[in-house]
Symmetry: C2
Subunit: 453 residues, 2 copies
């Protein structure tokens, strides 16, 4: 059997899969507690993306020009982790979808390119966004460079901005600009800095700043782009799982036993998992695992509720698992997983019992990442190590049970620009942070009086 | 036409191509001016690699286990640069071999894996080496991790060590260790530091240190591994060109018009070019261009002579183009190209008229790299930008001449870990350095009295 399973470019998905067609969803609510209309989102997103956001069509066509740009690196290879299997002595067959092969190094360009394309179609000249670890900000800068004629402005969570100076250069190289968040450029940023001058920042704060910067542009030619959480983002990422299914079929595998992704806002997890959740809804027996950090246990310890996606309450109330919108997670090294909420679609899939969430500490994750680097060669992003740690747990379980399980996980990105965490791990300087129930309860109090799902 | 041209793993080359079979070579000489014997190299390299170094067999089998490890990322894609062509308005068809897809981010693992494998076969427990930009040190650390049971110790040129702290973490993650060169760990390093405490270092110094550390190990279980220059390194890299020929054939191209690579020690250039030089020797009309930095113009302004590969004269005298073995190039950002000498095989090919060398300043190269990043998406390594700048020159020439030329260049690595140069370029802080004829002459005086080729 070959190590890498490729598809031809002609076998790339021509349509995205929309899980909202198969899973009943609660609507987002406005400040008055009533469902919001597409028009209410118009200052924030272009209408063509809003249409995707609210769509319940099962299949949505990928524009040909977008397909062309995705071909720079797609279809991504599905790789059999022979060496990792050997090191673990497991009878399980482990496959990973290698999303690190994109020029930005992660799965994020899968949605950055269509987002930039739809914005340009709508006449938008500038996109604002937030970024945690920097993967999303890099991806959107990359996408705007390819598409041309559209600027990209990134608010980067301060702790990551300081840990990862080269991320800023990368965004600049593709023509994007980047500031640390909270910044003095927005009212939301200034308010946080006034109260907490030493804050490490959070995705929730950075989102507030990016939305504010978009909606206050007097030309009306700026919109906001989100790298995760929203329905249209999950939609764009489904190319991952759609390709993976074809690739498994090429080696005679009808269905995997276990599908694994790491969960922050939910996008890489959804990208791989949603096409398999469709099969699960239709009766297939597949275990689907979302791995999140123990320091930010949205799915395992949060509550399903209506909450805002950002600290300044600029987003609608979304039906999702949350730790509370002003929760600022500990500054762990998987910056992309430091988010208080979770994609409403992923939340609905968890709530309906299709997904099993687990929480893992970062030291176990970096240990898994080191083993992966030394066996399979690729140094995974700190976020991705959560999926690898979960995979290793399942591969060991398969060994104990003596079962030849098929496991597939999403290698959402490489860690070549995120090595500080590895350095601390090797020096024994890495701390684990687990949220206490009291801490979680205190955060959730702020949602007393909000509409209940 | 598809953007990416893949080969199946089953189509990977099973043998390396040895240009020494088709090109008359002068022997390396010992300190006495007489040809050295394989036995004289035995303290430095394992005998199985020495056999490859002196072989004149045209085809040498790639061990199956090595083929298996190369499959982690090989065959690498050949990519049509549609977007770059469009930006240049050129009728030329530009292809690039994407060697940046290896886990270490460059072509270097193509030889790191067989070198580590042959050393392990020979019972070696530890490999010492030098690295410039860090690509080779990373690659050898990666290879030793995959092969297991063999340590890797890297002497990294000081200026790069300081510019690229994350490179060290990457080597550590794969289990390698790394010190700045010149170091206090060797007599060669201490001698340089005593005379020039502020030296930026050079590959020539780092090679001296690594060889000394190998040959002075009292257990006899340490050998030295070189990432470029030597015949067996060029040999291992020919998988690049052998794959590229098959890939061009797949899209109906019998031969390219122009083949381009950047030249430091010669390995990525040789990897792509040698299989095409074989065709040129056999009568094909192909222009083959080696692009080097104007600050270190070995092929364009150096002299073909017998010179040492390192500053402490620990290597044999090699028949090559050189700027003089104690030449310390200006600290440009393409650290991998800062080498006084040139592969004897590449030198012989230049001397025989099969290769046209050109020298380019780093500002033109970074400009080319920025254009490539914004069109094709991939941020190239500073070394690689020299090949891109040469490609752009040729594509513009094709436009002037109205000729639909087929150009292929080697994208030897990505620049995600080498972004400082881009930052300086964008800030307008980048200086060009051109060597004067006097400077070159002064350096070459040291070889007065050496044997002449």
């Amino acid at each position: 059997m070959e190590k890498k399973i490729y598809l031809d470019e002609s076998e790339m998905p021509k349509k995205w899969y929309n899980l909202a067609a198969d899973l009943p969803m609660l609507p987002p609510l406005g400040p008055d507690g009533k469902p919001i209309s597409p028009e209410m989102l118009a200052p924030v997103f272009p209408m063509n993306l809003i249409e995707q956001e609210v769509s319940t069509e099962r299949w949505i066509s990928i524009p040909e020009e977008v397909q062309g740009m995705l071909k720079i690196w797609r279809p991504s290879p599905l790789i059999r982790a022979f060496e990792l299997e050997k090191a673990l002595g497991t009878p399980a067959k482990i496959f990973y979808k290698n999303e690190s092969v994109s020029p930005a190094g992660s799965h994020k360009p899968n949605t950055a390119i269509p987002q930039a394309w739809y914005n340009k179609q709508f006449g938008i000249k500038r996109i604002t966004t937030e970024t945690g670890a920097g993967q999303w900000g890099s991806a959107l800068s990359f996408a705007c460079a390819l598409i041309g004629g559209i600027e990209c402005k990134v608010f980067m969570v301060r702790v990551s901005y300081e840990q990862k100076p080269f991320r800023q250069i990368l965004m600049n190289t593709w023509g994007g600009t980047c500031v640390a968040s909270p910044s003095m450029e927005t009212a939301a940023g200034r308010a946080v800095l006034a109260e907490f001058p030493d804050t490490p920042g959070s995705l929730g704060i950075a989102i507030s700043e990016a939305i504010e910067a978009a909606v206050t542009d007097p030309t009306g030619k700026t919109r906001y782009g989100l790298g995760s959480v929203l329905n249209h983002v999950m939609l764009h990422q489904t190319v991952i799982g759609l390709e993976a299914k074809k690739q498994l079929a090429k080696v005679g595998i009808k269905k995997p036993d276990i599908v694994i992704g790491c969960c922050g806002g939910g996008s890489n997890f959804a990208g791989l998992a949603f096409p398999f959740i469709q099969d699960k809804i239709n009766g297939d027996d597949i275990e689907i695992i979302g791995a999140e950090p123990a320091s930010c246990p949205t799915l395992t310890k949060g509550t399903f509720m209506y909450d805002h996606g950002d600290i300044a309450k600029m987003t609608p109330l979304l039906p999702m698992y949350s730790l509370g919108h002003n929760f600022i997670p500990a500054p762990i090294h998987a910056g992309g997983l430091r988010y208080h909420g979770m994609s409403p679609l992923v939340s609905a899939a968890v709530r309906a019992g299709y997904v099993t969430p687990i929480a893992i500490n970062q030291s176990e994750c970096f240990e898994a990442g080191m083993l992966f680097a030394k066996t399979e060669g690729i140094v995974p992003a700190p976020e991705t190590t959560h999926a690898i740690a979960a995979t290793i747990r399942e591969a060991k379980k398969a060994k104990e049970e003596g079962k030849e399980k098929i496991i597939i996980f999403n290698l959402s990105g490489h860690g070549l620009m995120d090595l500080v965490g590895y350095d601390k791990y090797m020096r024994g300087q890495l701390s684990d942070y687990e949220m206490s129930d009291k801490e979680i309860g205190d955060n959730l109090h702020q949602m007393d009086g909000y509409p209940k799902p």
